[in-house]
Symmetry: C2
DNA sequence: TTGATTTAGTAAATCGATTTATTTTGTAGG
DNA sequence: CCTACAAAATAAATCGATTTACTAAATCAA
């Protein structure tokens, strides 16, 4: 177990001071007028023995950790997993590592996790915020931490966020259903006060009302246990035999919804047309592929990391927070008009 | 922007030495014979002002970071995302944070990432290792780092690992197909020398040979771009019209395979029976649900974290590395016998 | 009373870097 | 020859904890 080399070891081996080594390694040789020969000698040696500065010590001194904290709702959800994947790639390419965690939309858990991240001195935060976390995020921002929110935002917190045009997305998709001749369209979603969920619901309602139809809404209480999501959906569908279409508000609800539909032997779209928010292999490969609203995942990730990196690089300049809203794509998969 | 309190601030406020504060905060008060009154006073004050030790400084001194490095193949793959989720939960509960990354099965990238983790002084490693990474992992172990491998292992590296009984899983599932009357069964998988892939392939071959049938194997070169996976599968299926069943070696191949099957208008299972490794919503919700081999995800995660934590807690004792092999479950979904 | 031991606590070294302040050396100008 | 100034490098302070080694006061035994 060879022990790690420190900057002192390097300095001693070369008979120079560690200050000099440090300056050279940090590219401040010119500025500090260190002779090119010495620079060369040090760099060559460092390369040779494979010395790498201890980043903990570095962080302690500089106050920068080169770590970004990423808080998603649930890393096992394909939407968040994909985003995380893309963010991870771009972060690593820019010399940042990611510490991530799943909030489960649980305020207390999220508070704890913010505490942990803070404690670890992460340089910046990427958060899909749960409800009730306003104060904690505000306090982060007050302390000068860059925070970028995505998927949703906190109206009371003035910071960058990247999200999609939820209201238009569901409005447009609902209109599509109506134009196909569907009239009894239900919206099944998670009970939530989060901005993206409120907008999705609103878009659906707006479309129905604009066309003089009556909204039918079912809100499911989120639960880790999938059975407890499936159960109420089943009850709802059994109770509303008159529906001719159903709109699922998230990929998770959508997947559970399809399971219910299968178990009840409902035929899609002849018995019941289906649209889901989020596109996802399950929807593409379903017996009759399901129309879905696809989020521009790559763009979301790109924007998130770009905004955050720019904050990290000029932490001095106080630019106004950016609100980035991206478009979605309605992927129409079973466009057969409703049989009259 | 209030600045953080340090242990010195605490010590000064209370008129005691920082040594004393440190001892008390680390539960060494008794051992160090510090009077109960003083202990009480310090604890109360610390609580009051909400002081938290700077974990970077702590790590620098103690050499422990309380961070676990998790390297999966691809965090956006549902198998790895679920495992990561479970590991994350259990790690946090035990006071550890996770830094994760996706290796893409790329040796060079993985080497870089190990370097980064090492640099960050992570306390332990959980790795789904790509090929060719033996030396790097061995060197980690030599340096006394706990390393647990999962999903696959490196035969030349003697360390803990958790995986499933791949050979039996595919053997058993293939036998199931044969018993159903299928005779021309192909195995489509990623080209790979990884232990789990070799075993899966072997299990398939063993079963066919045992029954006097001829193996038909198609190995796909992995690629980030899904089109480049779909393409060769399509070519293969078009070329082998005589097949009556196909076995997909991973969830990813399976999903792509179903897309091909859909695009070719092949009916499952009447034209072609399908089995896939890994169970997954896509397979449950496919037009005719697909028989799949379900991995015990919770058990895998539990075992991984348990083994790692025990190594972390008694790093002194040199227990023999454990090889944990778990059972899978064959979920039979369209068990209709082949029509003769 | 004296020396040993225990009790309760602290000063200083340490982890491995960065950064500020300072010293040494060389050279040009008067 | 002496001063001034730049060039080249370094000593020492710092980040915020832990840990080793030490001290002062109190207790105890002989």
């Amino acid at each position: 177990m060879k022990k790690k080399l420190s900057i002192v070891d390097i300095a001693q081996s070369l008979n120079v001071s560690k200050t000099t080594v440090s300056f050279i390694l940090n590219g401040r040789a010119q500025e500090k007028r260190i002779s090119p020969e010495l620079v060369e000698r040090v760099q060559k040696f460092v390369e040779e023995v494979g010395y790498k500065p201890n980043s903990l010590a570095k962080s302690l001194r500089t106050g920068k950790s080169n770590i970004i904290g990423l808080m998603v709702e649930d890393i096992s959800n394909p939407f968040f997993a994909s985003i995380a994947r893309l963010i991870e790639d771009r972060a690593y390419k820019n010399g940042y590592k990611i510490i991530y965690c799943s909030t489960d939309n649980d305020t207390r858990k999220t508070q704890d996790l913010i505490g942990m991240f803070r404690d670890r001195h992460v340089d910046g935060y990427i958060i899909a915020p749960p409800e009730g976390i306003e104060d904690d995020v505000t306090s982060l921002i007050k302390d000068g931490m860059p925070v970028v929110m995505f998927d949703r935002h906190l109206p009371k917190v003035d910071t960058d966020f990247v999200e999609i045009d939820n209201l238009f997305s569901t409005y447009n998709a609902t209109l599509h259903l109506i134009e196909q001749g569907y009239k009894n369209i239900a919206f099944i979603t998670f009970a939530s006060k989060q901005t993206q969920m409120l907008s999705r619901l609103q878009g659906y309602k707006d479309a129905l009302i604009a066309k003089g139809l009556k909204p039918v809404i079912k809100e499911i209480v989120f639960n880790q246990d999938e059975e407890l999501i499936i159960e109420p959906i089943k009850a709802f569908l059994e109770e509303h035999k008159d529906l001719d279409a159903v709109f699922f508000g998230t990929n998770h609800v959508g997947t559970c919804g399809l399971k219910v539909i299968n178990s009840l032997g409902i035929k899609v779209p002849s018995d019941l047309a289906v649209i889901s928010f989020d596109d996802y292999d399950v929807f593409k490969l379903y017996a009759t592929p399901v129309t879905a609203i696809a989020q521009p995942i790559v763009e979301i990730a790109d924007n998130v990391i770009t905004v955050l990196l720019s904050r990290l690089n000029n932490s001095s300049t106080h630019q106004k927070p950016q609100a980035i809203v991206l478009k979605t794509e309605l992927r129409i998969r079973n466009s057969s008009k409703k049989a009259e």
